[in-house]
């Protein structure tokens, strides 16, 4: 067991290091000079500056160093919690992200809870309902929800709930009202994905002999599905928690931009459009870490929650 835990942790660290290397390669190897772009954006022709000044600007962000030195500098910094300096704002990246992350965390949590409740309820109902057309309708809903683009859902909500009915604010982040529409937009996607996996899992579980035993004891169908079905069906669904977290992060980029919220998602959009490379690198690594850590926790918990599976799972 200890060997399994240590092995999984080492594997997670290796994946994170590799993800850092890939992200660094994409952002620093490809042709672009962020300092020159900054100067151009400020209306200064980089060619007109004395070469010394350009060099000094580059040195401030370590861009004059050979790539391999920059790579290890950044990697060392990341390990010490120093994510570099934002090129556009000239303050530490940790501070830039720290100012914004609260809003995104709150939104993600609310969206996560909504997705969990709605997705589970839908999957439960689609399995429980006996009327065939209704059952078919419910089981097709998640595929529909998952294929609606986030920008369209958000626009439809704004159009009806803000402009037509005037119930909710169309933008900003004051009060709980401003959370409703962004949270629905994100959870429509994540909840649909969750419901799809849960439905497939329910289908499998409800055929098991212990379900028939529970029914034979005299429990009602609903109670069997809730007590014996849901618990077992939820286990395979846990393996997609990492994917759901990733989807939440990516949809928050669109949703926060759409609802003009000041979060990490809209920060991503701004950082990409101003080519603030250290900020983009930090956000990519934040998302990768979230994905890897969630998968690690699920992998470590799985043998405890489901003792049937071996502690030394076969290589997938």
């Amino acid at each position: 067991m200890t060997r399994y835990v240590i092995g999984r942790i080492l594997q997670a660290i290796a994946v994170l290091w590799a993800a850092y290397t890939v992200a660094f390669a994409v952002l620093y190897l490809l042709p672009s000079n962020p300092v020159e772009l900054q100067l151009a954006a400020a209306g200064v022709d980089p060619g007109s500056l004395p070469p010394g000044q350009l060099h000094a600007e580059e040195a401030k962000f370590g861009l004059d160093q050979p790539l391999i030195v920059q790579y290890f500098d950044h990697l060392g910094g990341f390990l010490h919690g120093n994510l570099g300096t934002s090129i556009t704002q000239d303050i530490p990246v940790t501070q830039v992200i720290g100012n914004r992350i609260g809003s995104t965390l709150l939104l993600s949590l609310v969206a996560g809870v909504v997705a969990l409740i709605a997705g589970t309820t839908l999957a439960y109902l689609a399995t429980y309902v006996g009327v065939k057309p209704l059952r078919l309708f419910l089981s097709r809903l998640p595929a529909f929800g998952a294929s609606l683009p986030a920008f369209l859902t958000g626009l439809l909500l704004i159009q009806f709930l803000s402009f037509k009915l005037d119930w909710l604010p169309a933008s900003g982040q004051q009060g709980w009202q401003s959370l409703v529409m962004p949270a629905i937009t994100i959870s429509l996607i994540t909840g649909s994905v969750l419901a799809q996996v849960l439905m497939r899992s329910f289908e499998e579980v409800m055929r098991q002999p212990y379900i028939i035993t529970a029914r034979a004891k005299g429990l009602s169908r609903g109670a069997v599905q809730l007590k014996h079905g849901l618990r077992n069906a939820a286990l395979p669904a846990m393996t997609i928690l990492g994917v759901i977290a990733g989807l939440t992060v990516t949809s928050s980029v669109v949703v926060e931009t759409e609802f003009t919220r000041q979060g990490v998602g809209s920060l991503t959009q701004q950082a990409v459009s101003t080519q603030d490379i250290p900020v983009v690198l930090a956000i990519v690594m934040l998302a990768a870490t979230l994905f890897v850590v969630i998968n690690l926790i699920v992998d470590l918990l799985y043998p405890i929650l489901d003792p049937r599976i071996s502690h030394y799972p076969k290589a997938a």
């Binding site: 290796a14 994946v15 994170l16 590799a18 993800a19 890939v22 992200a23 994409v26 952002l27 620093y28 190897l29 490809l30 042709p31 672009s32 595929a143 529909f144 998952a146 294929s147 609606l148 683009p149 986030a150 920008f151 369209l152 626009l155 439809l156 704004i158 159009q159 402009f163 990733g246 989807l247 992060v249 990516t250 980029v253 669109v254 931009t257 759409e258 991503t268 959009q269 950082a271 990409v272 459009s273 080519q275 490379i277 983009v280 690198l281 956000i283 990519v284 998302a287 990768a288 994905f291 890897v292």
Partner: protein, 311 residues
């Protein structure tokens, strides 16, 4: 036994030659087996023709592709032509999707925007398909350390959410239709590689592969003639499904402002531009948005139907 193959009576001739226990529909069933892969294909197509929603979805996808190549077939106007007297008109027979703030016909702009978005989608799916298929085949076929290495790379790429990976690439390469297509295409490689690998591993252990090897076929021949034709099914289903995912990603990126520069009318750009007028002119954003959503839904439905057919 001689059978008259020219006349219409051949079926009855065969029937009379058969033992009386076999009914006509059984004869037909056994013919499908005899005619092999193409017989199955024909049976599958017949099954699909009976699914009305599938047909509608397929027709819509074909319409979008054709209108992307020949937009002038479906619209008489020009995408940048303005109608100064028809500014901000709601949808009507004259302007199917209405007009925008300077009087451009939105329907025409959506169709001309299709060209950009469909080109980007096809490029992205092609990148994912070709690279993913190659990696998957090499990984599943050779096994060993090559497999281990490729799968670790795939794990790594899966750890970075695809849209963020695309955004990172756009940060260094710049904006435009082609960078967006490239960025999204790279992001779908891992999925294709995984599916292909799993299929190749499954097919590799089948008896007919062993039989082909035993009868002297080279590994290369086995791979091309026996493994690939039998493993492309799920990969094709994934390609259709991923086309939908790719369209959402491309439209999202142009919605965020990283697509082709104005006045080009990529779908995401149209939707994003229309947001400023949402209060008064809802059609500017919502109609192009629905156009995209219906396309993605159609692709998902096609992929799901094909998947059910394969089982």
């Amino acid at each position: 036994m001689t059978v008259d193959i020219s006349g219409a009576s051949d079926e009855s001739a065969v029937l009379s030659a058969l033992p009386p226990l076999q009914r006509p529909d059984e004869v037909r069933a056994s013919r499908h087996v005899e005619s092999g892969r193409y017989g199955n294909l024909r049976a599958g197509l017949a099954q699909l023709a009976r699914k009305p929603i599938f047909i509608i979805a397929l027709l819509y996808v074909l319409f979008v592709i054709v209108s992307a190549i020949f937009p002038s077939w479906f619209s008489t106007g020009q995408p940048y032509a303005t109608f100064p007297t028809d500014v901000m008109q709601p949808p009507s027979l004259h302007h199917l999707f209405g007009t925008d703030e300077i009087g451009r016909d939105l329907w025409t702009r959506v169709l001309y925007g299709s060209a950009l978005t469909i080109k980007a989608t096809i490029t992205a799916v092609a990148i994912g398909l070709v690279a993913g298929l190659s990696f998957g085949v090499v990984s599943g076929f050779y096994g060993g350390w090559v497999d281990a290495l490729i799968m670790r790379i795939v794990d790594t790429l899966l750890a970075i959410p695809a849209l963020l990976f695309a955004l990172a690439i756009i940060t260094s390469v710049g904006y435009g239709t082609i960078p967006v297509a490239l960025a999204v295409g790279l992001g779908v490689i891992p999925g294709f590689a995984r599916t292909t690998r799993a299929e190749v591993l499954r097919v590799k252990t089948q008896p007919f592969v062993e039989a082909a090897r035993a009868s002297g076929a080279s590994w290369m021949r086995v791979l091309v003639r026996h493994i690939l034709p039998n493993s492309w099914g799920p990969v094709a289903v994934l390609a259709v499904l991923d086309a939908g995912v790719v369209i959402i990603a491309i439209a999202s990126l142009s919605f965020l402002g990283f697509g082709a520069p104005p006045p080009a009318s990529e779908w995401g750009t149209l939707i994003s531009d229309g947001r400023d007028f949402l209060v008064t002119s809802w059609w500017l954003s919502l109609l192009p948005g629905l156009f995209v959503a219906v396309l993605v839904l159609s692709l998902n439905h096609i992929s799901k139907t094909l998947q059910e057919l394969e089982r």
